[in-house]
Assembly symmetry: C2
Amino acid sequence: METTHRTEQQRSADQRRRELLEAADRVVLRDGPQASMNAIAAEAGITKPILYRHFGDKGGLYRALATRHTDALLANLRSALDAPADRRRRVEATLDTYLAAIEARPQVYRFLMHPSEETGGGQQPEHGFDTGRHSAPVLRRMGEELARVIAERVDLGPDSEVLARVWGHGIVGMMHAAGDWWLGERPCTRAELVRGLADLLWGRLERVDDRVDSPGF
Amino acid sequence: METTHRTEQQRSADQRRRELLEAADRVVLRDGPQASMNAIAAEAGITKPILYRHFGDKGGLYRALATRHTDALLANLRSALDAPADRRRRVEATLDTYLAAIEARPQVYRFLMHPSEETGGGQQPEHGFDTGRHSAPVLRRMGEELARVIAERVDLGPDSEVLARVWGHGIVGMMHAAGDWWLGERPCTRAELVRGLADLLWGRLERVDDRVDSPGF
DNA sequence: GACTGCGGTTACCGCAAGTAACATGCAGGG
DNA sequence: CCCTGCATGTTACTTGCGGTAACCGCAGTC
């Protein structure tokens, strides 16, 4: 019975954890990333210490939530990136998938991109110079993923390892910043944005003509 | 005498404000963005309520600080963008200027990119769906600036207004994300990173060959 | 029937943002 | 000379949140 008991307990604990995450999700969706632990606990119908038993601290809960959403988003992007079509089409499909995701659930997007709080897991002693860790993990993961795909699929010559990662993170950052701006101002349709970004990646910057009345860009 | 008195008061108040900002700068540089108002007040040799009289709330102080640094950075970027050289050289110079800045003062960089806290200035009633405002203002300003330069100097055909802004924000995002990753992992020299990003913008993505053993990217 | 493990709660600590109310120093005006 | 006005500064408080300690009750087990 010991084993049965254990697994049953385990299953129940995991299920509980999932329920708590669902509740937290609802609250974050409603109140934004500054949702308090009290509010989340209340939504789940329990009290704070239980949350802490499950997730350690607020950062832990947020990381668990973020991981779920990030995994889902990455799965979507992967499938767009793996679709059977020519390269340009796939790039456009991937951009569109990302933009559609942030358009559909902006609160989730905002939560994922929020690096805030997170004293950082005990870097109290160091107290400074821990730069480069403030960007949202989802961006890092997307960048690495894209780097892998680039390195796998195209031939960049010598230094392709590093170059692929530069491009991966750069492209992801481009997509992110443009998407964020677009979501705030809505200056054009999604398709137009996709087209513009794909054009940028496709070297139109090189081929574009100078204006006759300017020193060139 | 009224006027003399007023202006004198004003000048003194402005000077005081500058001193307070200097102090805040030192503390943020030392403690990171989570520097407390108490700590800043102490550094300035005074107490909290004075800070609140000058800046309203923490967000106000942070905004004032951020504006100072952002202005300085933008001035540097502008001069790189205006240097007399061909387009590729100027793009590389601008990238290098940005990367050199974040390399030289990573704490400042981290502070500027930190959108955190900031309940947002009275959007309590709206309570949600205010997406697109979480990105650091410095990125938005850089994006708009670059958009202006692009729109001024090159001919993008119809829809050049919107397209220039798409590109501006996209390129800035690329620079930011790549820089952030680079600063954290230091996988190559600054010059190599600049080269890689400039190559990406220069259309190498289009011309690069597929690997023989892959379905292409 | 006492023992133990687990899900749960109340009640607290520490700390930071923000504020109210009080003190002090210094113009000018009767 | 004293009183008023006003800016500057302080102490001492409130509120709210992250995080924790200590206690509660109820399975099941020997």
